[in-house]
C-alpha cells in the first residue's frame, strides 16, 4: 500500500483513541466541548439501535422479505456523530447507506425498508426531515446538494446575522464516488459560488470490491484542496471526532465561509450489500483487524471507563432494540402492494397524454380479467 495513499491513517483527527481514551485537539476540542455524558450516551444508544436494526434488516432480507439490504455496519460513528452536528435548518443529501444519518433526522428507520421491499423508490418526505431521498446513481446528488446550498444562500439563510436561522447542506458519499465527474463538478460549483455545503466522504476503504487505491493515490481529503476547498481527515470510527469536525465544518459553511470536505476514514464491516460476497476480495485478517476497532466498542470503552454507562441504560437500550426489531418485522411483513395503477402516478405533476392513455389502457386490460373472473 502506498504510504500517504488513501488507505493511510496519517493526519486523522482523533479525539477518542481506539482504547476509548479522550485525547486533546486544539482545533476541534471546542467543537466537542458541549458534549455531556448524556449526549455521549445518546450517541451510544443511536449507534447501538442502528446496528441492531441493521442486522434485523439483513435477516429480513435473508428471509426473502426484502429484495436487497445495504448495511451501514461499521460506519455508525461517522453517521451518528456527523448527523448529530446537524440542526433544523440544515439539509442532507445522502447516498444509500446513511441509515444512521436518517435516524438523526427523525426518519422512521422502518419506513426506509419500503425501498428495499420494492414498494417505492423514496420512503419519506425530504422536506419534513431536511433529508433528501437516497441516491443510487453514484455522485449525482453531490450536485443537488451544492445547488440546494446555493439556494440557501440566496434565501438569506447563510451568515444572516441570526445564527439560529443559518443553514448548511451535507452531501454524504463514498470513496468510490469521488471518482465520478459529478462529484468534481460539485466541488467546482461549490467553490466558485462559495456555497455552504459540506462534502462528507465516508472512506470505508471499498467501492464494492475495489480498494480506495483504485480511486486515488493520495488521501481523499486532498481532493478538496485542488478546488480551493478546505479539507479535514477524521477518524471515522471516532464518534466524538466525527461530531466535532462536522460541527466545525457546518459552522464554517453557515457563517458564509464556503464549502468544506471531510474525509471520515472508516471500514465497511459488512458486505457491500446482501448481494455481495466480500470473501472474494478481502481477507479475514483485514476484517478482524477492523473488528477490533469497532466504533461502538470504542465509545462503549470510553463511557464504561468513565462510569457513564450503567447496566440500567444498557438494558433500556436493549429493550428499545428489541422493540424496534419486532416493529420492523411486523411492519415489513404487513406491507401489501398498493393498487397496480399507482405505478402510473406522479410520472408528471400535470397530466401527460401518453401516461394517461397507457393508464387507461391498463385499467381496461386489467378489468377485462376481472370480467373473466366475474363470469366464472
Amino acid at each position: 500500500m502506498d504510504v500517504g495513499g488513501p488507505l493511510s491513517e496519517e493526519g486523522l483527527v482523533q479525539l477518542l483513541t481506539p482504547a476509548g481514551e479522550r485525547i486533546g485537539n486544539e482545533q476541534f476540542d471546542p467543537f466537542a466541548a458541549h458534549l455531556s455524558a448524556h449526549d455521549l450516551r445518546a450517541f451510544w444508544r443511536d449507534m447501538t439501535v442502528l446496528r441492531s436494526w441493521d442486522l434485523e434488516a439483513t435477516s429480513l432480507q435473508r428471509q426473502g422479505e426484502l429484495g436487497l439490504w445495504v448495511q451501514s455496519l461499521g460506519q455508525e460513528a461517522a453517521q451518528i456523530g456527523s448527523g448529530h452536528a446537524l440542526r433544523e435548518p440544515d439539509f442532507v443529501f445522502p447516498s444509500y447507506r446513511e441509515h444512521g444519518v436518517a435516524l438523526t433526522r427523525d426518519v422512521d428507520l422502518v419506513e426506509i425498508l419500503r425501498i428495499f421491499r420494492g414498494l417505492q423508490h423514496g420512503a419519506w418526505n425530504p422536506a419534513d426531515h431536511g433529508f433528501h431521498l437516497y441516491s443510487l446513481v453514484i455522485g449525482t446528488h453531490a450536485l443537488h446538494a451544492t445547488g440546494y446550498a446555493m439556494a440557501l444562500d440566496r434565501d438569506g439563510l447563510v451568515a444572516s446575522g441570526d445564527p439560529d436561522k443559518d443553514g448548511a447542506v451535507v452531501a454524504y458519499f463514498g470513496d468510490g464516488a469521488t471518482s465520478q465527474g459529478d462529484v468534481s463538478e460539485a466541488m467546482v460549483f461549490a467553490a466558485v459560488n462559495n456555497a455552504p455545503v459540506v462534502f462528507f466522504v465516508q472512506n470505508n476503504q471499498f467501492a464494492i470490491s475495489e480498494p480506495a487505491t483504485r480511486q486515488s493515490r493520495v488521501p481523499i481529503a486532498d481532493r478538496g484542496k485542488g478546488f480551493g476547498i478546505p479539507s479535514v481527515r477524521v477518524d471515522g470510527n471516532d464518534v466524538i471526532a466525527c461530531h466535532a469536525v462536522t460541527r466545525w465544518a457546518l459552522e464554517h459553511a453557515r457563517s458564509g465561509q464556503g464549502p468544506v470536505l471531510i474525509e471520515a476514514f472508516t471500514y465497511r464491516m459488512g458486505a457491500h450489500t446482501t448481494s455481495d460476497d466480500p470473501t472474494r476480495y478481502r481477507s479475514k485478517a483485514q476484517d478482524e483487524h477492523w473488528r477490533e476497532r469497532d466504533p461502538i466498542a470504542r465509545l462503549d470503552a470510553h463511557l464504561t471507563r468513565s462510569g457513564e454507562l450503567d447496566e440500567q441504560f444498557r438494558a433500556q437500550v436493549a429493550a428499545e432494540c428489541k422493540a424496534l426489531g419486532e416493529r420492523t418485522r411486523t411492519t415489513v411483513r404487513g406491507w401489501t402492494k398498493p393498487p397496480t395503477t399507482t405505478m402510473f402516478d406522479h410520472v408528471y405533476a400535470l397530466p401527460h397524454a401518453t401516461v394517461e392513455a397507457e393508464r387507461a389502457w391498463f385499467e381496461r386490460y386489467e378489468s377485462s380479467f376481472a370480467d373473466v373472473e366475474a363470469t366464472r
Binding site: 443529501f93 417505492q120 423508490h121 423514496g122 418526505n125 425530504p126 422536506a127 433528501h132 431521498l133 446513481v137 449525482t140 453531490a142 450536485l143 443537488h144 446538494a145 451544492t146 445547488g147 440546494y148 446550498a149 446555493m150 439556494a151 440557501l152 440566496r154 434565501d155 465527474g181 459529478d182 463538478e185 460539485a186 467546482v188 460549483f189 466558485v192 402516478d345 406522479h346 410520472v347 408528471y348 405533476a349 400535470l350 397530466p351 401527460h352 397524454a353 401518453t354 401516461v355
Partner: protein, 354 residues
C-alpha cells in the same frame, strides 16, 4: 377536442399587444416576462450574462436582472443541471441554456436519471420545474456538434416534456408556459429560425398564466399540435425548423393541385398523435419531416401511432423524411443531408402514388 389552438381576436378597442419580433427576440421577451412574473425564475448557462449568450437570446437580461438571476456558470453541463435540481428543491425555477445541441450530452445522466425521475421517486413530493433551452438543428453552416437534433434521445424517457416552437408567437408562448409548468421541460429552439420574424401577441399567454389555473392551462396547451395550414390530400407533419419547409412544400404542391395539410407538432412529449390521427383519417396520407436522423427518430413513433390508430384510413404507409444515419456531416454537405424542399415533395408524391 380540436388540435388547433384558438387565439381569440383581441378586442378592437384594447391597446394593441401585437408586435413584430424575431424568434430570438420573442424568446428573450418571453424570458423577461417570466422573470418579471416570478422572482424565483433564474437563468443559468455558459456565457448568458454579459455576452447575452452566443445567440444573444438572453441579451440585456443580465444588465436588468443582475448576477443573481442571470448566472454565468462554470463550463460543465452536468453541473448546471445538477445544481439547478438542488435549487429547484428550494423553489427556484431555473431556465438553463445549453450552448449548442451537441453539448447537452455531458448532462444526459442528470437529465434522464435525476431530473426526469425525481417527481416519481418522491411520490410527487418534489417537483422540479426546470426548463432546458437547447438551440438545435442545422442549416447555419456550423462546425461539428453544432447542428444536431437530439430530441428523440429525450422523448423515450418518462418525466420530461419536450417542445419546439416554429414561430415567434409559439416561441413567446411556449417558453412562458414551459417555465410555468411544474414538470421539467426540454425546449428545443430551431437556431436557423432565430432571425425569422413574425407577429407576436403578448397579451394572451400573460392572461392565461396570470389566471388561477394558469399552470394547468398552459401545460395543456403546450402539449397541443397546431394546424399550420389546412388541406385535404396529404398530411405533412413537422416541428421546429421543418415547419417553414413544410409550408413551402405545401405551397409548391398546391400549384400541382395537391392540397397539403401542415401540422406543426409543437410538442414531442407528449406527442399530439391525436391531432395527426384526426388529420390522417381525412387525408389518408401522412408524411413526417424532421431534421433528426430518420432511424429511431420521432417520425418512427408518429408513424407507429398513426398506423395503430388509423390503419384502415391509410392509403399508403406513413413516410418519413429526415437526416440520415450518419453523424451530422461537414457544413458543405448539410443541404444534402437535411430534408430539402425537393425531398419533401418527393415524399408527398410517393405517398400519393403508393
Amino acid at each position: 377536442m380540436t388540435a388547433t389552438i384558438e387565439r381569440p381576436a383581441t378586442t378592437a378597442s384594447a391597446p394593441s399587444t401585437t408586435t413584430t419580433l424575431t424568434m430570438a427576440g420573442a424568446i428573450n421577451a418571453g424570458l423577461r416576462a417570466a422573470m418579471d412574473r416570478d422572482p424565483k425564475v433564474l437563468l443559468m448557462g455558459e456565457d448568458i450574462g454579459a455576452l447575452g449568450g452566443v445567440f444573444r437570446v438572453t441579451d440585456g437580461l443580465h444588465k436588468d436582472f443582475g448576477d443573481d438571476r442571470v448566472m454565468d456558470t462554470p463550463l460543465a453541463e452536468s453541473g448546471i443541471v445538477g445544481t439547478a435540481i438542488g435549487m429547484a428543491m428550494r423553489g427556484y425555477r431555473s431556465v438553463i441554456e445549453i450552448q449548442f445541441d451537441g453539448f447537452i450530452f455531458p448532462a444526459y445522466d442528470q437529465i434522464t436519471t435525476q431530473l426526469a425521475k425525481m417527481h416519481y421517486r418522491s411520490q410527487g413530493q418534489i417537483t422540479l420545474p426546470i426548463v432546458i433551452r437547447v438551440p438545435f438543428a442545422g442549416g447555419i453552416g456550423a462546425v461539428e456538434h453544432h447542428s444536431e437534433s437530439p430530441e428523440a434521445l429525450f422523448a423515450h424517457t418518462a418525466g420530461l416534456r419536450i417542445v419546439s416552437p416554429a414561430t415567434p408567437q409559439d416561441a413567446y408562448d411556449l417558453i412562458q408556459q414551459s417555465i410555468a409548468c411544474p414538470d421539467p421541460v426540454m425546449f428545443f429552439e430551431p437556431k436557423a429560425r432565430y432571425w425569422d420574424k413574425g407577429e407576436v401577441d403578448t397579451a394572451r399567454v400573460s392572461a392565461q398564466l396570470d389566471a388561477a389555473d394558469g399552470q394547468s392551462a398552459g401545460t395543456a396547451e403546450m402539449a397541443k399540435a397546431r394546424v399550420a395550414r389546412e388541406g385535404a390530400d396529404v398530411t405533412l407533419v413537422a416541428y421546429g425548423p421543418t415547419v417553414r419547409l413544410a409550408l413551402q412544400a405545401a405551397e409548391v404542391a398546391a400549384k400541382d393541385g395537391t392540397d397539403v395539410e401542415v401540422i406543426d407538432l409543437r410538442s414531442i412529449s407528449p406527442l399530439d398523435s391525436g391531432a395527426v390521427v384526426a388529420s390522417a383519417k381525412r387525408t389518408g396520407r401522412v408524411v413526417v419531416v424532421h431534421e433528426a436522423p430518420t432511424s429511431f427518430g420521432s417520425g418512427a413513433e408518429l408513424s407507429a401511432r398513426v398506423t395503430e390508430q388509423a390503419f384502415f384510413h391509410l392509403h399508403a404507409p406513413v413516410l418519413r423524411v429526415g437526416g440520415f444515419h450518419t453523424p451530422y456531416p461537414g457544413a458543405t454537405y448539410e443541404h444534402d443531408y437535411l430534408p430539402s424542399l425537393d425531398r419533401v415533395l418527393d415524399a408527398v408524391d410517393r405517398v400519393i402514388q403508393h
